[in-house]
């Protein structure tokens, strides 16, 4: 049976992790590679790097991080943030990424997703959707790290992107992100019901019960979280044990 995935996400800026990461046994708390290794050891099912480097020149540091991570962690690695061209994708794959996630560039030019999927295969093209509630049962997508509204309906967008060849949707609720109040289940369920591809729920995890709800009530095939893992509130292993106890199939 296919297992629900637990995916820790690290925000990387200029090659260093931002947002505090608070493991006891880290030598260098800002080194994403070292953090990746800890999550690998804890049994994470996948890793996600979100690059928030502002300047294009500094992006080369990201390739170094991806390269060093892929040399040490033999698990799927998704990298997102600032992916705009086929060449960006190629460079990330050469560095050792398995999947890339595309957000703003897909909104600017939806055909980019189709081109990328044709070139590299749907399995490595993730479309990241940042959505906010815009009325009862309606959600709008945002770009530029959630700063810019688009007027585009999230459900219609998710359908369009999977139609263009996206192999997975990484869905973040902007309303819940950073709140610790749990996933936006209504949003997650609507997207999961609308598309045939796997959906990763993100934004708002504060307790282990939230992870269970994302899969069971939201219909997500994977759950992504940052703070509860970074701050040492819970380990990946604890998260999985909790999910298993609640009857969600996970890889031990």
């Amino acid at each position: 049976m296919l297992k629900a995935r637990v995916i820790p996400c690290l925000d990387v800026k200029d090659g260093r992790t931002v947002k505090g990461v608070n493991f006891v046994d880290l030598v260098d708390a800002g080194d994403p590679v070292e953090q990746a290794r800890i999550y690998d050891g804890q049994g994470a099912d996948e890793l996600c790097f979100l690059d928030i480097t502002a300047s294009h020149e500094n992006r080369d540091t990201l390739f170094g991080v991806v390269n060093r991570t892929a040399e040490q962690c033999f698990m799927p690695l998704t990298v997102g943030g600032g992916v705009r061209t086929v060449d960006d994708i190629r460079k990330l794959l050469i560095a050792g990424a398995d999947k890339v996630s595309i957000n703003t560039a897909a909104v600017h030019r939806p055909d980019f997703v189709a081109e990328a999927a044709r070139k590299f295969g749907s399995q490595c093209i993730v479309v990241a959707i940042d959505a906010k509630a815009a009325g009862p049962g309606r959600f709008e997508i945002f770009t530029h790290g959630g700063r810019r509204g688009t007027g585009i309906d999230a459900v219609a967008w998710a359908r369009r992107m999977t139609g263009n060849g996206a192999g997975e949707i990484l869905l973040t609720s902007m309303d819940r992100d950073g709140t610790g109040e749990g996933f936006d289940i209504d949003l997650t369920r609507r997207i999961a019901d609308a598309v045939p591809v796997p959906v990763i729920a993100s934004g708002g995890v504060g307790t282990l019960d939230h992870l269970v709800a994302g899969v069971r009530e939201g219909g997500a095939t994977g759950v992504l979280a940052a703070s509860i893992f970074h701050f040492g509130t819970h380990t990946i292993a604890e998260a999985k044990a909790h999910m298993a106890e609640a009857g969600v199939p996970v890889r031990p």
Partner: protein, 211 residues
């Protein structure tokens, strides 16, 4: 000893190469790992790896675009060199692929590559960790104990003509071939290079395999 990973422009090649480099560094004979698009390199290799992501036809086209590569692969397989196909690299071993039309495969393991049937709760691609159930004894798969997990990403599955060529299955809306093989060719639908400890152990055993 040397391992040739065939580079025909397909997907996450580096990620596969890194896992083989790691396994090779720990192997008794410390084989050299070369990522290559040169058929002459295959002639010198003691092990060949055929990776593959994306569509069946794109991968076959990519191979055919390298002059002499398909012939070199056939020649080395006939000569008994151990070959591991990964994901679409495994599917290419079939007789035909039915993704985007009907296309010839390499034909080492008679069979067809057909779509995973989407069901009510079945998302496509089949993406994530799933259990491996061995159907036959094979030295390279020996370490995959009951309940062992591996990482899958695929939308098509291989159906060998001879059930005996299915070495392991996983369950996704019914049994799906997780490993196939005969003689000196072996294929895994899952990605050993992404399957952490289980995957690296499989790669190590492939490096030591003497069919």
């Amino acid at each position: 000893m040397s391992v040739a990973i065939v580079d025909y422009g397909s997907g996450n090649l580096r990620s596969a190469a890194k896992a083989f480099e790691r396994a090779a560094a720990d192997a008794p004979r410390r084989p050299r790992v070369a990522v290559t698009a040169d058929p002459a390199e295959l002639a010198r290799a003691d092990r060949i790896v055929l990776p593959g992501v994306g569509a069946f036809v794109d991968c076959m086209t990519g191979l055919a675009r390298l002059p002499g590569m398909v012939e070199a692969l056939h020649e080395r397989v006939r000569a008994g060199v151990p070959l591991l196909g990964i994901c679409v690299g495994m599917q290419l071993m079939a007789t035909v692929g039915e993704e985007h039309g009907i296309h010839d495969g390499l034909g080492w393991v008679p069979g067809r590559v057909v779509p995973l049937a989407p069901g009510e709760d079945l998302r496509i691609p089949h993406m994530g960790w799933n259990e491996i159930e061995r159907r036959a004894d094979h030295p390279v798969l020996a370490g995959l104990e009951a309940g062992a997990h591996a990482y899958f990403v695929h939308s098509y599955k291989m159906v060998p003509d001879r059930p005996g060529d299915v070495l392991a299955v996983t369950d996704y809306g019914g049994p799906v071939a997780a490993a196939v093989g005969r003689g000196n060719v072996l294929g895994t639908q899952f990605h050993p290079e992404k399957s952490q400890r289980n995957g690296l152990a499989l790669i190590s055993r492939f490096l030591e395999w003497r069919p």
